[in-house]
């Protein structure tokens, strides 16, 4: 058992009171666009605007505890909607905005499913995105409809620490979205625990390009900045993905000390940032380069350190961390200033994700990682069966596999069926369903798994197929339907994929067999074989 020691009390009882405090400071947010133009939003203005949005929401008929879905890009409107919902006593539920040139069918289905699952009473968006929400709104039918962020007379409801503050989705899919309900106390306890590692004086600037519909961007960056309070520069995720250099330039310009990203982002910078993008860039202020939300690949961290050492980047700033949305966000942190510690585990090299934060305990039971602490969720909203499966006696079954070594946690794999790509969780069915109608592929005869490579986790499809199937065609189809390009598609003889006795796919076992080179077609079942098996079971029964 690993323990982070005594709980630190949250700095504020509710987010309302954190926001009131932040509004007394001269600090705030600043937004960068693709041309690196900056828009300032001081916390004072953010608070005033949120109070007016709260009044507008009450005028619309929003009541305390109502779920307010928010589908907006990173920007001022998002802040109005999110903090407006909080001050209205409602529960904000940030969802993914659509991607330009992205495939709309998937967006419609996913959005409708998430709106239904969280029981959204109203949806807030802007004119541009609203035009694309018709299908999802018609199918989910939120009672108060779809609106731009409303304005009214300033309003503020008081909240209690155990009221639900927000709902975030643990994996954003059409198949099995699980809405994680977090209270003010959960979130502010996690933020306070992070603040024991990351200093809170207001000279500590943060930069983030992470999406605000995900725990790491929303809680780890935005709500941390409000709670401390501290200055935070926000870059829309799509701007970072297209121009990764903007992230590093912003860190340099702001003399930022804190910035967090998933493993793939560090790899993307190595591959795509050119010397021309780095003129005058100095990364020596960056002391907390946190790395979480997907498995950490030590080789990527080394390449990142080498590539940017000439720009003042200190490899000891790299901090692999571990967390999950069911625990609000953060569970373990690498000690700051030390740098990554790695360990050979068979052919793989694993990075330590450090030690539990204060108030958090980590236990390994039969190889599975369990977590307990004040930031663990109360429930999956409206899903008691899933809640009972994940939580018992305050212990959260993370579904991740790991072990303890010299007082630190190493995450070695996953028992739950989730594929984590670019920091986002996907249910495997999302990719398996995308094979529907592909020639030579029968329904239910494919497994999507996340294979760890030197670059990080990659999507691999294991497909039982006959002679008509074509791996390249399957790859295109999945890319087209899901926006994710499979790293590899393996065509297998029917019957190769491991299944349970009731015929359910065993994806974890399929992945293990793939890695061990053991994925083989079944032995042919002959009459002799059947006779032998029958004889064996008869003998066993007689002996019993």
């Amino acid at each position: 058992m690993l323990s982070g020691g005594p709980t630190v009390p949250p700095r504020h009882p509710t987010l309302q009171s954190a926001l009131e405090q932040a509004a007394q400071s001269r600090l705030g947010l600043s937004f960068l666009d693709a041309q690196e133009r900056e828009t300032e939003l001081p916390f004072t203005a953010l608070y005033e605007r949120a109070r007016r949005a709260a009044g507008g929401l009450r005028d619309l008929g929003v009541e305390s505890g109502d779920r307010v879905a928010i589908i907006l890009p990173t920007g001022e409107e998002f802040m109005d909607a999110f903090f407006g919902a909080v001050l209205a006593g409602a529960v904000p539920v940030p969802l993914y905005p659509p991607v330009r040139l992205g495939r709309m069918e998937e967006f419609h289905r996913r959005t409708a499913r998430m709106l239904q699952t969280c029981g959204a009473r109203v949806v807030l968006s802007n004119g541009r995105i609203s035009r694309l929400l018709g299908v999802a709104i018609a199918s989910a039918r939120p009672p108060l409809g779809l609106h731009a962020v409303p304005r009214g007379a300033p309003h503020e409801e008081q909240a209690r620490p155990d009221d639900v503050l927000l709902i975030q989705f643990s994996s954003g899919t059409t198949v099995d979205p699980k809405p994680v309900a977090l209270t003010h106390r959960n979130v502010l306890a996690n933020v306070a625990a992070i603040e024991t590692i990351v200093p809170t004086d207001d000279a500590q600037a943060g930069v983030s390009w992470l999406p605000l519909y995900h725990d790491m961007g929303l809680i780890g960056c935005l709500l941390l900045a409000v709670d401390r309070p501290g200055p935070l520069t926000l870059i829309p995720p799509e701007v970072f993905l297209a121009r990764p250099g903007i992230w590093l330039r912003a860190i340099s310009r702001k003399r930022a000390t804190i910035s967090v990203a998933p493993n793939f982002a560090y790899g993307l910078c190595v591959r795509r940032v050119r010397d021309a993008d780095l003129a005058g860039v100095d990364l020596s202020s960056w002391r907390f380069a946190l790395n979480g939300a997907e498995p950490v690949a030590p080789a990527v961290l080394r390449r990142f350190s080498e590539r940017f050492a000439g720009h003042g980047f200190d490899p000891r700033a790299l901090m692999p961390v571990y967390g999950l949305s069911e625990a609000s966000l953060a569970v373990t942190f690498t000690p700051p200033g030390r740098g990554p510690r790695t360990l050979a585990s068979g052919p793989r090299e694993l990075a330590s994700v450090g030690m539990p934060l204060p108030g958090i305990e980590v236990d390994i039971r039969g190889g599975r990682i369990f977590v307990r602490g004040p930031s663990v969720m109360r429930e999956y909203y409206g899903n008691p069966a899933a809640t009972a499966a994940a939580l018992s006696d305050g212990w959260l079954d993370t579904g991740d596999l790991g072990f303890e070594h010299e007082g630190e946690l190493f995450v070695s794999g996953r028992a739950k069926d989730v594929v984590i790509l670019r920091g986002r969780n996907h249910a495997p069915q999302e990719f398996e369903d995308a094979l529907d109608g592909a020639p030579g592929v029968r329904p239910g005869c494919a497994a999507a798994v996340g294979l760890s490579t030197a670059e990080g986790e990659e999507l691999v499809l294991l497909v039982e197929a006959d002679g008509d199937a074509d791996a390249e065609q399957i790859r295109s189809l999945v890319t087209e339907r899901t926006g994710v390009r499979p790293h590899a598609v393996h065509l297998l003889a029917p019957g190769t994929l491991p299944r349970t006795s009731s015929g359910k796919l065993r994806r974890g076992e399929a992945l293990r067999q793939l890695q061990a080179g053991e994925l083989r077609p079944p032995d042919r079942v002959t009459l002799v074989h059947v006779a032998k098996e029958t004889a064996r079971s008869l003998l066993a029964r007689m002996r019993g």
Binding site: L101, M104, R243
Partner: protein, 82 residues
């Protein structure tokens, strides 16, 4: 049209590491294998270069390199009519 096709080729080569020159009839996803990040990189590159804004709903009309080039030209005329 050639200028836009040239810029599409440049982004695909320089930013996305495509080894061959794209043909106008190439399907962005099926032939060029662009995933959502690849598409975004292409969109933001073109928006910057031609000072236009592509919209989310534009996706429906765009399958091939030629479709994308035509869309960029249309948006550019709207944004800078002379």
């Amino acid at each position: 049209m050639d200028e836009v096709l040239g810029e599409i080729g440049r982004v695909l080569r320089d930013e996305l590491g495509l080894s061959r020159a794209p043909r106008p009839e190439d399907d962005l996803v099926a032939d060029l294998q662009l995933d959502s990040v690849g598409l975004l990189t292409l969109v933001v590159g073109l928006e910057d270069r031609f000072r236009i804004a592509l919209k989310e709903e534009d996706a429906a009309a765009v399958r091939t390199v030629r479709d994308l080039a035509a869309l960029v030209l249309r948006r550019r005329e709207e944004a800078h009519p002379c």
